[in-house]
C-alpha cells in the first residue's frame, strides 16, 4: 500500500521532469526544418526529395501542428538552445524582434545583397518588408532582413459569380467603387433575397482590416500613419467618413443578419453555400472554399474605392516565412536551400499545390484561376508589419467595437470617432 503512495507521487512528478527534456540532435550534414503548415506537409516533403535529387543534400521537414503547439515548441527550443537549422515564428513582429535580440536568428542581409541583390530583388518588397527591420526601428533591432517569405496572403473582397448572373449582373465585372458595390448588393438583395455582404465581423481583425484599407484609400498612407503616431486625431473628418462607410452598408440593408457575432469560419461556410453575394476575406480562403464547395464559382476583387485621391492599398504581406538559426552549423547550406525554395520553379510548385500566392515576382504563368487574377494586386500591399509604428491594442479594441456598434445601428460614426480618440489620448500604460 505504501507503494501506491510512492507511485502516485512519482506519477504526479514525472510530467514536470519529463517536460524539461526534448530530444533534438542536429547532425551536421542534414538540414532540419520545423514548420506548422499542416496543409503543405506533402508538398514540402516533395520539395525535400527533389532537392536531394538535384544536390544530394538531405533536408528534413518536421511538422508540429497545430500552430500553438508549434509556437510553444519553438519557444522552448530557443530557451534551451535547441532550435533547428530553419524554422518559422508565428505571431507579431514583436515576437520576432525578441528572438533577434536574443541572437537566435541569422541576419540574411549579406546573402540577400550577393550578386547585385539578385535574391532580394526577386521578392515582392512588401513580402520581404515583413522580415525587415529598418534603421532605428522602434524594436531596437539591428537593421537587416531576417527571414525569407515563402508566400503572400492578401485580404480582398470576394464575389459569387453565379449570383451575379442570376441577378442579371455581368459576372466578369465586379464593382470598382463603393457606390457600385452598394447598388449591386442592393440589387441582389432585392431580386434574389440573398444577403449582399457577409464577413466574420465577430472577429475584430477582419472589420479592422477593411477600415484600414478604406482609410488609406481616402487619406493616403502617410496621414494614416500620422494618426497612429498621434499627430492626427481619429475625430478627423476623413476618419469619420471611413467609419460612415460601415453605417452606409448597414443603412442599405446589405449586411447579413448577425454579422457582428459571426466568426470567419461561419462566414466562409455561408459564403461557400451561396448565402451571400459578397464577402471580405483573405487569400487563404481559396483553399477553404475549395474544401467546402469545390464547384463554387467566385473571384476576388480589390477594395471598392471610396475616393480617387489616393491609390487603393491592399492589406497583405508575407504569409509564412522561414528563418535561419544563428547558431546552426550549416548556415550556408540552409541559406542555399531557402534560395532554392524561393526560386521560380519551386514557387510555382508551391503555389499550384497549396493554393498560395508566391512571394517572388514574375511567377504569373504558374498560377491558375482565382490566384492568377489576384497577382496583379500584389504591387500595392500594406500591413501593420511594414508600418513604422503600430496602434496600441486598446485603441484597436475601441476601433473594432466601435465599428461593430455602428453596424448594429447603436452609435453614429461621430460618437465612435470621439470614443476612439478618448482611448487614444488615455494612452497605453507606460
Amino acid at each position: 500500500m505504501k507503494n501506491l503512495l510512492k507511485f502516485l507521487s512519482i506519477v504526479l512528478i514525472i510530467p514536470f521532469v519529463l517536460s524539461g527534456c526534448g530530444s533534438q540532435e542536429t547532425k551536421d550534414e542534414k538540414i532540419i526544418i520545423w514548420h506548422w503548415m499542416n496543409d503543405r506537409k506533402e508538398t514540402f516533403d516533395n520539395l525535400a526529395s527533389l532537392y536531394k535529387e538535384q544536390t544530394g543534400l538531405i533536408v528534413e521537414f518536421k511538422l508540429f501542428s497545430p500552430p500553438d503547439i508549434y509556437s510553444q515548441k519553438v519557444i522552448a527550443a530557443a530557451r534551451s538552445g535547441k532550435l533547428p537549422d530553419i524554422f518559422g515564428i508565428i505571431g507579431e513582429k514583436k515576437t520576432m524582434s525578441s528572438f533577434i535580440k536574443a541572437k537566435y536568428i541569422l541576419n540574411l542581409t549579406p546573402y540577400m545583397k550577393e550578386n547585385d541583390k539578385s535574391w532580394q530583388n526577386s521578392f515582392y518588397p512588401q513580402a520581404l518588408d515583413v522580415n525587415r527591420f529598418k534603421k532605428d526601428n522602434t524594436y531596437n533591432v539591428e537593421e537587416g532582413i531576417y527571414g525569407v517569405p515563402i508566400d503572400i496572403t492578401i485580404m480582398e473582397f470576394v464575389y459569387n459569380k453565379d449570383i451575379f448572373t442570376k441577378a442579371g449582373l455581368d459576372p466578369e465585372r465586379p464593382p470598382e467603387t463603393f457606390a457600385e458595390f452598394l447598388s449591386y448588393a442592393k440589387k441582389i438583395k432585392e431580386t434574389l433575397g440573398i444577403n449582399g455582404f457577409i464577413s466574420g465581423w465577430g472577429e475584430g481583425w477582419l472589420i479592422n482590416a477593411l477600415a484600414v484599407e478604406w482609410a488609406i484609400n481616402l487619406m493616403g498612407e502617410e496621414k494614416f500613419i500620422q494618426t497612429i503616431e498621434g499627430k492626427i486625431p481619429y475625430t478627423d473628418k476623413q476618419w469619420v467618413e471611413v467609419f460612415s462607410m460601415f453605417l452606409k452598408m448597414e443603412q442599405n440593408g446589405i449586411l447579413a443578419n448577425n454579422i457582428t457575432t459571426m466568426i470567419n469560419k461561419e462566414a466562409e461556410d455561408l459564403f461557400s453555400r451561396g448565402q451571400s453575394a459578397f464577402s471580405f476575406n483573405g487569400s487563404w480562403a481559396v483553399n477553404v472554399y475549395k474544401q467546402l464547395a469545390p464547384d463554387l464559382n467566385y473571384n476576388f476583387f480589390p477594395l471598392p474605392k471610396i475616393s480617387n485621391e489616393h491609390p487603393v492599398k491592399i492589406w497583405g504581406g508575407a504569409g509564412s516565412s522561414f528563418l535561419i538559426n544563428n547558431s546552426s552549423k550549416n548556415k550556408k547550406n540552409a541559406v542555399n536551400f531557402l534560395k532554392w525554395m524561393t526560386a521560380k520553379d519551386q514557387q510555382n510548385l508551391l503555389a499550384k499545390e497549396t493554393n498560395n500566392l508566391p512571394s517572388i515576382k514574375n511567377c504569373q504563368e504558374g498560377l491558375t484561376g482565382v490566384l492568377a487574377d489576384m497577382i496583379d494586386d500584389l504591387d500595392n500591399l500594406t500591413h501593420p508589419n511594414i508600418w513604422p509604428v503600430n496602434e496600441n491594442s486598446r485603441v484597436l479594441e475601441a476601433i473594432i467595437s466601435g465599428l461593430q456598434q455602428i453596424v448594429m445601428g447603436l452609435k453614429t460614426p461621430e460618437e465612435v470617432a470621439a470614443e476612439i480618440q478618448k482611448v487614444k489620448e488615455r494612452g497605453s500604460p507606460k
Partner: protein, 291 residues
C-alpha cells in the same frame, strides 16, 4: 496511531503531499503569480515589463469593462429575481405534490446537468431569426405578435438573461426543495391547529427556517452568474459589446496576448465578487438577527 516519531510524521505528511503539490502548483502559485503579472505588461512569453498599477488605472477608465459589469449585473439581476422566484415557487409546488414530485424533480434538473455550450448552441439555433424556429412555432400556435429577432442588438441581453435563467432554475429549485424537506412536518401541523393561515405559516415557519438555504442560493447564484461565460459565448458571442460579460473580456485579452491586463481584470472581478458575497452574507445574517 497517534505517535509522533519523526519517521511517522513524514509518512503522515505524505498522505497530504500529492494534494498539496497539485494545489500549490495550480492554485496557490497562480494566485500570487496573477498579482505579479497584473503589474507587468506581458505577452506571457517574452515581454515582461514592469508598469506598476498602470493596468488598473487603465481598467478603471475603460468603459467597455464597466459595460461588461453592467451586462453581467443585468443577467444576475434576472437570475436573482426571476430564476430564483420561479425556482422557489416550483419547490413549494413540488414539495406539495408528493406523488408526482419525483418526476418533476428529475425533469427540472436535466438542464443544469447539460453543459453551457450545449444549451447555448441549441438555443442559438432555435432563436436565430434564420431559420427562425421559435418564431415559426410561435406563429403556428397563434402568438405571432411576439415574434422578433431574439438575438438582435436591442434584445440580445434580455434573451441571454432569460436563457441563463432557463438553464439555471432547476439548480436553485433542487437546493430549495432539499431545504424545504428538512422542515419538520409537525411544525406545520402545530401551526395549523393554532389556526394559522397559509400565508402566516409561510412567513412564520417556511421563510425563517429556509433563510440559510435562501441566502446560500442567492450568493451562489450571484457568484455563478457574474462568472458566466461559456453559455454567453456560445449563444451570442458577445454581440459587439452588448452581451459581453467580464470573463469574456478577460478571455479575449488572454487570447490577444495581453496577459498582464487579463490578470488585472481578473483581480478586480474577483475582489468585487468577494466583497459582494461577504456583504450578502452579512446582510442575511443581519436579517436573521432582526427576526
Amino acid at each position: 496511531m497517534n505517535d509522533y516519531r519523526p519517521k511517522d510524521k513524514a509518512a503522515n505528511f505524505s498522505f497530504v503531499f500529492p494534494a498539496l503539490l497539485i494545489f500549490s502548483v495550480f492554485y496557490i502559485y497562480p494566485f500570487f503569480y496573477s498579482f505579479v503579472l497584473s503589474l507587468h505588461r506581458s505577452d506571457g512569453i517574452f515581454t515582461y515589463d514592469f508598469i506598476g498599477l498602470a493596468h488598473f488605472r487603465d481598467i478603471f477608465q475603460d468603459k467597455a469593462w464597466w459595460r461588461s459589469f453592467y451586462n453581467g449585473g443585468f443577467i444576475t439581476f434576472w437570475a436573482l429575481t426571476f430564476q430564483n422566484v420561479l425556482a422557489f415557487a416550483l419547490a413549494l409546488g413540488v414539495d406539495k405534490a408528493i406523488k408526482t414530485g419525483k418526476i418533476y424533480r428529475v425533469i427540472f434538473f436535466i438542464l443544469p446537468v447539460l453543459s453551457e455550450i450545449i444549451i447555448g448552441l441549441l438555443m442559438r439555433t432555435i432563436l436565430l431569426s434564420e431559420p427562425g424556429i421559435l418564431n415559426h412555432w410561435l406563429n403556428q400556435i397563434g402568438f405571432g405578435f411576439i415574434t422578433r429577432d431574439w438575438l438582435a442588438p436591442n434584445f440580445a441581453l434580455l434573451t441571454t438573461a432569460l436563457v441563463h435563467c432557463w438553464k439555471g432554475f432547476g439548480w436553485a429549485f433542487i437546493i430549495l426543495l432539499a431545504g424545504l424537506q428538512t422542515i419538520p412536518e409537525q411544525l406545520y401541523e402545530a401551526a395549523k391547529i393554532d389556526g394559522a393561515s397559509y400565508i402566516q405559516r409561510f412567513f412564520k415557519i417556511t421563510l425563517p427556517l429556509l433563510m440559510p438555504v435562501v441566502s446560500m442560493v442567492v450568493v451562489l447564484t450571484l457568484l455563478g452568474t457574474m462568472q458566466a461565460f461559456a453559455m454567453v459565448l456560445s449563444l451570442t458571442r458577445g454581440t459587439g459589446r452588448l452581451t459581453e460579460v467580464p470573463v469574456m473580456i478577460i478571455y479575449n485579452h488572454l487570447r490577444g496576448n495581453q496577459v498582464g491586463l487579463a490578470c488585472a481584470e481578473g483581480i478586480i472581478l474577483g475582489a468585487v465578487l468577494v466583497i459582494v458575497s461577504f456583504g450578502m452574507f452579512a446582510f442575511s445574517k443581519w436579517i436573521k438577527d432582526k427576526t
